[in-house]
Symmetry: C2
Subunit: 184 residues, 2 copies
DNA sequence: ACCCCGATGTAGACAGCGTCTACAGGAGTT
DNA sequence: AACTCCTGTAGACGCTGTCTACATCGGGGT
């Protein structure tokens, strides 16, 4: 296996195990058994390496939402659950994927992977006759709005702010309310 | 004015002007005209200083949603618009407020300010007979879900991902769809 | 066979960062 | 007057990302 791929793998493991702060170029190099300058032979800098990691994160996320069984409505609800579940299961990867300061937002592979996720989700939304769709709303706008709702749910949950004093909802119960709002 | 308050003010200006990455202890100290070690006489570390800045951010946000005129429904929609508008107008502050790695999440003043925002929002939601409320959903759960939807909208917009190829919605149009989903 | 050159990896250096420690002055108390 | 706490300064340390100089090695052209 090439050093480049080994660096990406090592970074992914470090990310999942130690969190996003622990993913430093020098730490990755040490964990991969190379010198601290070796990563710069394969990536222009930290942002480019992390972009490669985040790109694989989007690919993993897409693989979850793709080819789900069931009716259009079932597939959409399954995709929504899957999105939140991905974030809660891989919090560090989820954070990296949406941290503009850590990745190279101009990376074509990264933006392609990200758009792939949204496009697939938009197709799922378009196949379900939601109340919003019946009222004539733009379907891509509905998809963006629902995606944002799921995204905010995951983000706020990871942030820890949804559990206030004397109020500790589960992510599932909040997600159920969200899906109720959109799917009727 | 005391040095402590001057440091908070300087950090806020630096945050708004240069972004969250530029808010370094040494940079704040230089901008405030003190030595690089002076901030540590007033704050235990960077996290505590940034927590004070974020606390004021929550206070500013709360001031926007408080005492809005009109009917309960009008006040809720105004608060929703206000939340997204705050994020889009103060992107660096908004990012800082939800960056757990930058602030001290155990700071009592910070968590109190954050809960104040959510509690105020929850009161606004409880005063409006939404379709979800009529169907018997927990009102605090509805508030959390709607808050998450607004939050995700702001976050994804700042992230830049809502504008895909051949699809460039405005934040307002996406927000309108979101409000439609929750308020019917 | 030889040479050369590009690719790959190493080691050292540099500036910037947060944080710790030693030191200096100044204000207030006893 | 002496002592103590508060505030500020200056230097140091280890960490980071990144740059540069140098070594090594393998394949292609003469």
């Amino acid at each position: 296996m090439g050093t480049r791929q080994r660096l990406i793998d090592t970074a992914s493991e470090l990310l999942a195990g130690e969190g996003v702060d622990a993913v430093t170029l020098r730490g990755i190099a040490k964990a991969a058994g190379v010198s601290h300058g070796a990563p710069l032979r394969h990536f222009s800098g930290r942002a480019e390496l992390l972009s490669a990691v985040a790109t694989r994160g989007y690919a993993d996320l897409l693989a979850r939402g793709d080819q789900l069984p069931g009716s259009p409505r079932e597939r959409l609800t399954a995709a929504c659950h899957s999105y939140v579940d991905f974030a809660l299961t891989n919090p560090a990867m989820f954070e990296l994927m949406f941290r503009r300061d850590l990745v190279d937002t101009t990376d074509p592979a990264l933006s392609a992977a990200a758009s792939g996720v949204f496009d697939t989700f938009a197709v799922l939304v378009a196949a379900v006759p939601t109340p919003l769709a019946r009222s004539g709303a733009d379907l891509r706008l509905v998809a963006a709005s629902l995606w944002a709702a799921l995204h905010g749910l995951a983000q706020l949950w990871l942030w820890g702010g949804l559990a206030g004093a004397s109020f500790a909802p589960s992510p599932e119960s909040a997600l159920a309310v969200t899906l109720d709002a959109y799917l009727g």
